[in-house]
Amino acid sequence: MTVKLLLNVNGKEVEADIDPRTLLVQFLRENLRLTGTHVGCDTGQCGACTIHLNGQAVKSCNILALQAQGSEVLTIEGLAAANGDMHPMQVAFKECHGLQCGFCTPGMVMSATALLKENPKPSEEQIRAGLDGNMCRCTGYQNIVKAVQTCAARS
């Protein structure tokens, strides 16, 4: 069985006939070749696969692509400006050394941007709670928190 999926991904309309089992992350990575969204755990725990679905951060390994039918999806590839300038959150992560291996970074950045949209001036505690669903095995989180604070202070 295949089912037709219609989505808007990073501002572009996408249409495909897919096996209903296809996870959203699989569709993004394997069908659309948007490999910036990572798969860390594949069990909904680590947050590496975080994207925005209709403006909200969700874990794309934990939903079917068909659950996003008709929705707007934003991935890390769609965050930078059209001319290639990095998003302010990406700039802040770079400046504050908010990453080491970089594996968790796309998910962290997507969660952090969703957090600031909801709460533009979060406290440190609110940042830590807001990034609760994202794990980093390298940084110890200090510089990630600093990056989000830096980005929030600039906007």
Binding site: A57, V58, I63
Partner: protein, 266 residues
């Protein structure tokens, strides 16, 4: 994940009809539990009936002396709802403490209650407030709904459409979260209604959410933190696992009940 046939009905009527005729069909709400279960091949439904397009299942409204929340309402929506914060703030706190932001953006009230995970938060709120589960077939009071680990009174094909939470005089929820999953190691929901009677529901302790009669009696007589301290919570029947012993869980029930009473007295 095993293959399945996918359906996305636009109305509740259509969804109920589909589930009625598909032998091994399952409803899909947020998928925050079901997708993981299917990946592990612990569930292999022949058909998935995605409720995502059924807008009539979403929303929060006040009806008389109760707050009516649609089954498909997301945890994040309940946590952020001005109506919930005003009428039953404890429920907003509970929803805002489920998992993490990504899970709350997708997971639903109906999915959580239907799933009845023994460490889930919502079952404590539903039982602790004496809510009524409204389904496609009937109304089920909370005391008759939960039936032990992952079991409920729901029949195959029966869908939760909404849950009606009576407005309490005061209520609060206190949870000791498992540091990894955020599920409740112990969660205690306490509510008091206008005539003074108190309900205390405990989650995370054993085979499923339950009421604690001794705490209810002590708190109905005297709604204070001291009343909680006067009750010795027994470890008998509570679960012991890698996270906590039964004795530690019994201790946590007392601590969380006390915190909930303090919060309810605000």
């Amino acid at each position: 994940m095993y293959a399945f046939q996918y359906h996305r009905p636009g109305s509740l009527k259509e969804a109920a009809a589909l589930l009625g005729k598909l032998g091994d069909g399952k409803a899909l709400a947020g998928g925050q539990t079901l997708i993981a279960t299917m990946k592990l091949r612990l569930a292999q439904p022949s058909d998935l009936v995605d409720l995502g397009a059924i807008t009539e299942l979403r929303g929060i409204k006040v009806e008389g002396d109760a707050l009516m929340i649609g089954a498909l309402t997301r945890h994040a929506e309940v946590a952020a709802s001005a109506e919930v914060k005003k009428r039953i703030p404890a429920l907003a706190v509970l929803a805002g403490g489920i998992g993490d932001r990504q899970v709350r953006a997708v997971g639903t009230l109906g999915g959580s209650v239907a799933n009845n995970d023994p460490a889930a938060d919502y079952p404590a709120g539903v039982l602790g407030l004496g809510a009524t589960v409204i389904t496609t077939q009937r109304k089920i009071v909370a005391d008759d709904f939960f039936d032990g680990m992952y079991e409920t009174a729901l029949k195959p094909g029966e869908l939760i459409t909404a849950i009606s939470f009576p407005l309490p005089k005061r209520a609060a929820y206190a949870k000791f979260p498992n540091p990894a999953s955020r599920f409740a190691m112990i969660g205690v929901f306490v509510s008091q209604v206008a005539n003074g009677s108190v309900r205390v529901a405990v989650t995370g302790a054993g085979g499923g959410v339950f009421r604690d009669a001794a705490l209810e009696k002590a708190l109905t007589a005297n709604f204070t933190p001291e009343a909680v301290t006067s009750v010795k919570v027994s470890a008998s029947g509570l679960s012991s696992d890698m996270h906590a012993s039964a004795e530690y869980r019994a201790h946590l029930i007392g601590v969380m009940a006390k915190r909930a009473v303090v919060a309810a007295l605000g």
